[in-house]
Amino acid sequence: MSVQVWTYVLVGITFALYIGIAIWSRAGSTKDFYVAGGGVSPLANGMATAADWMSAASFISMAGIIAFAGYDGSVYLMGWTGGYVLLALLLAPYLRKFGKFTVPDFIGDRYYSKTARIVAVICALIVSFTYVAGQMRGVGVVFSRFLEVDINTGVVIGMVIVLFYAVLGGMKGITYTQVAQYCVLIFAFMVPAIFISIQMTGNPIPQLGMGSKLNDGSGLYLLEKLNGLSTELGFAEYTEGKKSVMDVFMITLALMVGTAGLPHVIVRFFTVKRVKDARKSAGLALLLIAILYTTAPAVSVFAKTNLINTVNEEEYTNMPVWFKNWERTGLLTFNDKNQDGKIQYVADKKANELVIDNDIMVLANPEIANLPAWVIALVAAGGLAAALSTAAGLLLVISSSVSHDLIKKVFVPNISDKSELWAARGAATVAVVIAGYFGINPPGFVAAVVALAFGLAAASFFPAIVLGIFYKKMNKEGAIAGMVVGISLMLFYMLKFKFGIFDGGKAAVPSLEKDWWFGISPEGFGSVAMMVNFIVSIVINKFTPEPPQDVQEIVEDIRIPSGAGEASGH
């Protein structure tokens, strides 16, 4: 069977599976819709969290980014896993004990203030929308390359599928489809990695293959070989970075803290039964994520080495089929500058003839390594699973922010459970349509903003939640001021140094690099904004009245794990 037939078969089977699960797990109440009824097992929640967390960016882009960034790519590996330690130790158990539906619920109740709740809703919406647009785009890319439909048609198909199970099943439908999606995506990521690891090093475990000797008889270690190839072509050594230590430190911190502050991840811990289940499922989630995250850097090394060997100084006319296929998508371009008919892939921008988009490294990897057709098709199904599962999780945060935090808690407090459920479904539908619109007409800044969503989450939610748990006397004035100052500072830095809007637009961005505060890039600035948030909160807190006694009692109560009732919205 050809790659295309295999792709149709595998994508068809997985989609049918997701729809089947959605019908089986329809939501009957708002509690089903928001927190899957509150009775999800730790393992199922761990798998769902892992799928929720690993987006199109983790599956499709990350290994590619690392392949081109080398050591500097470590910020994503440490940043997107280390955040779970913070989540498990500092947030998940206490938020589960608190037992409400959403993150703004916690902020609103803990800081006894509608203003705090609304600030939290706005932060949640900004973070989630920027993120979801990127997922829809990922769906479009996979469809257009593997099923040869137009990118926009791909986005629409993705929208319909997500709409179906998110609107019908809410958190319950999403949780169980995510369990299935985790299985699909991890299988799809591991199979090609194992194949290629055996091919190149003879070691079936990619994590070890990465540090093994090549089996081409040269006796060289794979990483030595890649370092050699890189310097030969004028690039930095693969195991060395170009970023400053300060910047690597700050970006890693921003990603870690941002991870712990992302509403669609936090909300997953409301779905388990007990506090100890919340802890355990955070551990399981990270274990399941780590399988992909420790394989990805190995894939990067394999793919980069393979790529250089396949293309550099080779005749353009001898290029394999995958090369032409990807050229058609525009994600790979060749321009024979010196007219010698050969491909020169070098660091010097003037002489370099090959431009490769980060995103194709994972998707093209099995083709570059000549793996069988079904493996290539599997990668397409895996990419779709990763993008759809994350999109669904984000849509749920958006819809519950609107139906629960705004409609029920602010505007129509006496709304019936049934009407609220319909409001949630309506909000999810609107959110899917908006996300789809951005997927089809991506504003030029989407890719840039997705990375910054972490900075925004770090600068706003993380300090407010941590202080809310660990500092009993933290009051609403401090928390609100901290969130507002934190997210504003982050937005300002982003607009100034990423979009250059105060200095004449995007063209000015590279020249502004020397003005970065303390040499910190916009991606790493979330760490600074987070620290400022902490300081502002604590200082304002000193000069304003203590929180009321009953709130202090709530804090004492969430610190004790026993007696966690079921999550409730009332």
């Binding site: 050591y71 130790l89 270690y221 990483l223 100890k276 780590a290 004492e556 794990p561 026993s562």
Partner: protein, 86 residues
């Protein structure tokens, strides 16, 4: 302070002590070994890996997973000790 409150604050103190120890390790393996002392550790080579690079792209992640499971164990024991495990 009532007896109940005393018990609660003793529990909380032990919890915070665990957090402090575990988060110190969390910091050391990632920010320490993977970033700040990366260049020093890179002088040590294990198999094909330079050690600092290995911590940044592999080792820190393994240790993160272990840390959470150690935390789960410690807390389950602590809950039992204070009778909060129901």
């Amino acid at each position: 302070m009532s007896k109940k409150q005393q018990k609660a604050s003793a529990y909380w103190k032990e919890n915070v002590k665990y957090l402090f120890i575990l988060l110190s390790i969390w910091f050391l393996v990632s920010y320490g070994a993977g970033i700040l002392f990366k260049d020093v550790l890179d002088n040590i080579q294990i198999g094909g890996f330079k050690l600092g690079f290995w911590f940044a792209q592999q080792g820190s992640i393994y240790i993160f997973v272990i840390l959470i499971f150690v935390y789960v164990r410690l807390m389950n024991k602590l809950d039992k000790k204070y009778g909060y495990d129901t």
